[in-house]
Symmetry: D2
C-alpha cells in the first residue's frame, strides 16, 4: 500500500487528510487530579485478563481533568488552534501484569475528533463529552492563582448528563501530583470484527507512556468529588469511599509510541 | 476475556458503557445526493491496492448528505434521542476488486461519537464536522415538499471552514437515487501500530453493505455543487467537472455485519 | 438613524449582517407536548404584576419540545440550513390580564443565536441548551410512526445537566394538541439599564401570537415527565403532580408581530 | 414588579434562573490584537448618527481575540466553569461624539449565552461563533511562550465559514496593547418594537468602559490578518490595507456599569 500516505485515516496520496500526524505528539496543559479510594472489587471488575489488581492500595483511583494544547512535530496545529486545543477527563486505576505495576485508564471523555483518534492508537477508550476546568490566571478576580487557597473545579458531562464534579483547594507544594497515574499505562486495543460473531479483529495489550515530561511545581490540597449515575456510563460505580487528595500541576509532555505486551491473532 | 462485555469500548463487566451495541444497527433518514464526474485520475489516486478503478465511468462521484435517526436492536436510543440522531456528509466513488464493482467512501464527516465509532467498524474514515441539510415538512412556508420544485440544500463544514455546499431542486420521480453508492462498499480498516515504525496492527479490506433497505419514492432533479479548499482536507481535489444529477430519497436501512475480503496479519 | 439598516443588530449600511430579518417569520416543525398540573402557587409565583392567575386550572403547565426549520420572507435560510434549523424546549403556563386569558412562556431553551434573538423580540426568555426530540420517519425501525403506539421522547439539558425528559406514546387522534399554549402569549420584555441602580431601560408587557397556523392531525396519548434540579434553573419548581396528557402535532406557523399591552417609560 | 428578582431574564421570585447576575462583572483573560488600517469610508459607514469619525487615523481598526474566564461578585461561576469560560473575537473602530473620542465595537462573536446577554447590556452586537486562540504555556513544545518569537494565532468562524485568521509573532515588550480599543466604548442599544412598523422600543447611545484593569506586560510584534467573505457577515468590508501591529497581553478587568449618553423615547 505504498501509494497511500497518512498515519491515520483517511489515507490519500498526499497524506494531508490524515486525522493524525505520526508521533511524536506534544502536549502542553494543566492537570487537575482527585485521588480517592473505592471498593477494590469495583476496580478488579474493570481489569480484563491477563491483568491483576495492583499489589497494594488496589482500590485507588485518580480522576483527572486536563486542559490541553497539542500538536505534532511540525507544530502547524498551533497556528490553527481548533486543531490543537481540547479538554479531557479520565479515570485511572492501577493493575499488575507480569510483576510490573501499570496504570490503566478505564473511562475517558474528550471533546475533539483528533483526541479521540489518538485514544484509538494509545488504547484510551475515548467517548465525546463536555469537560470544563477552572483556569488559573495571574490577573483579576475571575481566576484562582496557583498558590495556597487557589480553588479549581472540574466538571464532566456526556450526552447532557453531569457525570462528575470536583473541587480542589490548593494547600501546599507537593512532591508529586499523585501516584495512581504515575506508571506507564497498560491498555487494551480492541476492534471488533466486521463479521458478526467473529472474534475481535484487533486484540492487543499495550504499554504506553510519555517519552518526556517537563513539569511545574505540583500542588496538593483538599478535594471534593461527586459522581453521578447515567444509563450509558459506569463511572459512578467507582464510588468515592475516601478522598486521598487533590492536585494541580502544569505539564509539557511528549508521546512517541508504545510497546505491544501481548497480542492475539485470529487466523483467517 | 470472557469477563468483559461490550461490543465496543469501554468494555466492562456489564457492557453498559460500550459506545456501540452489537449489530444489527437500524437507520431511518433522509438522503440528499449529488452525483457528478471528476477527473478519473483523481479517483484512481484514492484507491489503494488491491483496488482498481471501476471499468466504466471511473470518474463518477456521489456526495451524499444524510440526516439520520439510528439505534440498535433494543431501540432504547430512540427514547434518548441524543444517542440516536446524527448527520453525515460523505463522498463515494466506485472501484473494482476481483471482478466485482464496489462503492467506496473516500471522505466522510459526522457529528457524533457513536457515528464515528460505527465508521471504525464499517471502514468509513469518519472525522467530525458540522453538517446541515434542508428538511422537508408537510406544513408551512419554511420547508420544501418532496415534490417537483422542492429545493434542498446540503452544507458541510469542518474545523470552521465550509468544505461543500449543494442545492438540489426536485424535478421528477426517479427509479433510483443514483448509481455511485449503489454497490456494497469495499473499505479498508487500518489501525496503526502503537510501536513506532511498525506496520499497521490492523489492515483489512472488507465488504460492507446494508442487510435490508426500505425506501420511499426517489426523486431526481438539477443540482449545483461547490467544493472548497482546506489545509487539512482533500475533498476539493474531487473537483466538479460535470454534474450528473441530484437526488432525494427517504430510507430505512439495516446494517448487520460485513465480510473480510483480504487481510494482512503481522506476526509478533 | 436612516443610514443604518437591519432589523436587529449589528446594523450596517446594507443590513446584511443583521442577526434577524424583519418579520414575517415562518416556521415548519414538529411539536411534542406534555401537559400536567403543578401546585398553582408555583405558577402564581412566576407571574409578575399586572398578571393574575388563570381563572380555572391555574396550575396547568405545558412542557413543549419543538424541532423547527424557520426562515424570513426571502426563504434564503432554507438554502443554508444552519441558519434555519433549531430546537427548543419551553414551559408554558396561563395567566390573566384585563379579563383575557393568555399563555405565558416562563422558561425556554434553544440551540441557536437567531432563535435566542427572536426571543428577545417576542418576550421568550431564551437561554442556550441541548434539546433533542425523537423524530418520526416513514421507513425503517429507527423511528416511530405518527400512529397509535408511536413513542416519542423529548430531552432537555443546559450547562451539562439534564433538566427534563419526557416520553409520549400516541394513542388516538385528538382535536387539539393541548390547551395551555393555546392562547396568545402575554410576555414581558425587560432590558436592564446600563447604569447601575437605574430602573430597567425597557419594560413592556406584550401580546404575541401566530399570524397563521397550518397543522396536521393532532395526536394524544400517555406521557411521563421527569424534571431535574439545577443550581441555575428553576424548571423543577414546576413539579409534576398530575400528568394530563401527551400530544404530537406537525405545524407550519407564521409570526408577524405583536402588540404592546402596557409599557413603562423611564424619563431621563 | 418587586416580586420578580433577577438582573436579567428569566425573572423569578428567587432570581436564581437569571442568565446574568447584576454587575460588577469580573474577567481574567488573554487578549490577542491585530491593529490595521482600512479605508476610512468603510469605518464611517458603520457609524450611525450622532457619531462622527475619529479626528485622526479614522481608518484604524483593531481585531481582538479574547480567551476569558468571568464571573459575578459571588465568584460561584468559577466552581462550575462552563458558566465562566468563553471566547470572543471583536472588531473595534474609533469614533467621536460631542468632542470625545470613543472606541466602538462594530462586529463581535462569542460562544456562550451569558456572554451574548452581557453584550445586550453593554451594547456589543454579539452573535455566536467558533473562536480559537493559541494559548501560552510555560512547559512543553505545544505552546508559545510570552517572549520574543512566541507565535499566537487567532481564528474566527461563524455558521461554518471561516471569517478571520491572524498570526502574531511577539518581538518586544510594548507600552500598550494598541490604541484603537483604548477608549471607553460608544455603543448603541437597540431593540426593535414587537409591533410591525413601529420605531425601536429601545434606542440609546451609551458609554461603557472598564471600572478597573490589572494587566501584565504588553508585547507587540508582526502580524498577518486575513478576512473572508460570508453572505451574512460584513467583517471583510473592513479590508486590511495596512497592518499596524500585533499585540499580546494578559488582563484582569472589572465592568461595573455604564452611562446613557443619549436616548430616544417613543411615546405610546
Amino acid at each position: 500500500m505504498s501509494e497511500m500516505a497518512g498515519y491515520f485515516y483517511p489515507r490519500t496520496a498526499s497524506g494531508r487528510s490524515s486525522l493524525l500526524p505520526a508521533p511524536p505528539w506534544y502536549y502542553s496543559g494543566d492537570l487537575l487530579t482527585v485521588e480517592y479510594r473505592t471498593d477494590p472489587a469495583r476496580v478488579r471488575r474493570l481489569l480484563p485478563p491477563p491483568l491483576e489488581p495492583a499489589p497494594d492500595d488496589p482500590g485507588a483511583v485518580a480522576l483527572i481533568w486536563a486542559d490541553w494544547q497539542s500538536c505534532g512535530a511540525s507544530g502547524e496545529e498551533l497556528l490553527d488552534p481548533v486543531r490543537a486545543q481540547y479538554r479531557e477527563c479520565f479515570a485511572v486505576v492501577r493493575c499488575r501484569f507480569e510483576d510490573t505495576v501499570y496504570s490503566r485508564c478505564v473511562f475517558i471523555w474528550v471533546d475533539t475528533d483528533f483526541a479521540l483518534a489518538r485514544g484509538l492508537v494509545q488504547g484510551y477508550p475515548k467517548k465525546l463529552g463536555s469537560i470544563h476546568q477552572t483556569r488559573p490566571h495571574p490577573f483579576g478576580r475571575a481566576a484562582p492563582r496557583i498558590a495556597p487557597g487557589g480553588t479549581f473545579a472540574g466538571t464532566l458531562s456526556a450526552s447532557g448528563r453531569r457525570l462528575a464534579q470536583a473541587v480542589v483547594t490548593l494547600r501546599e507544594e507537593s512532591a508529586s501530583s499523585g501516584f495512581v497515574n504515575a506508571h506507564p499505562m497498560a491498555h487494551h486495543r480492541w476492534m471488533p470484527s466486521v463479521e458478526k460473531g467473529a472474534p475481535d479483529a484487533l486484540s492487543e495489550l499495550i504499554a504506553s507512556g510519555t517519552a518526556s515530561v517537563e513539569a511545574g511545581q505540583a500542588w496538593c490540597g483538599d478535594a471534593t468529588l461527586q459522581l453521578f449515575e447515567s444509563p450509558t456510563e459506569e463511572l459512578a460505580d467507582l464510588e468515592v469511599r475516601e478522598i486521598i487528595a487533590g492536585y494541580y500541576r502544569q505539564v509539557g509532555v511528549t508521546w512517541d509510541g508504545g510497546t505491544v505486551l501481548a497480542s492475539a491473532l485470529w487466523p483467517r
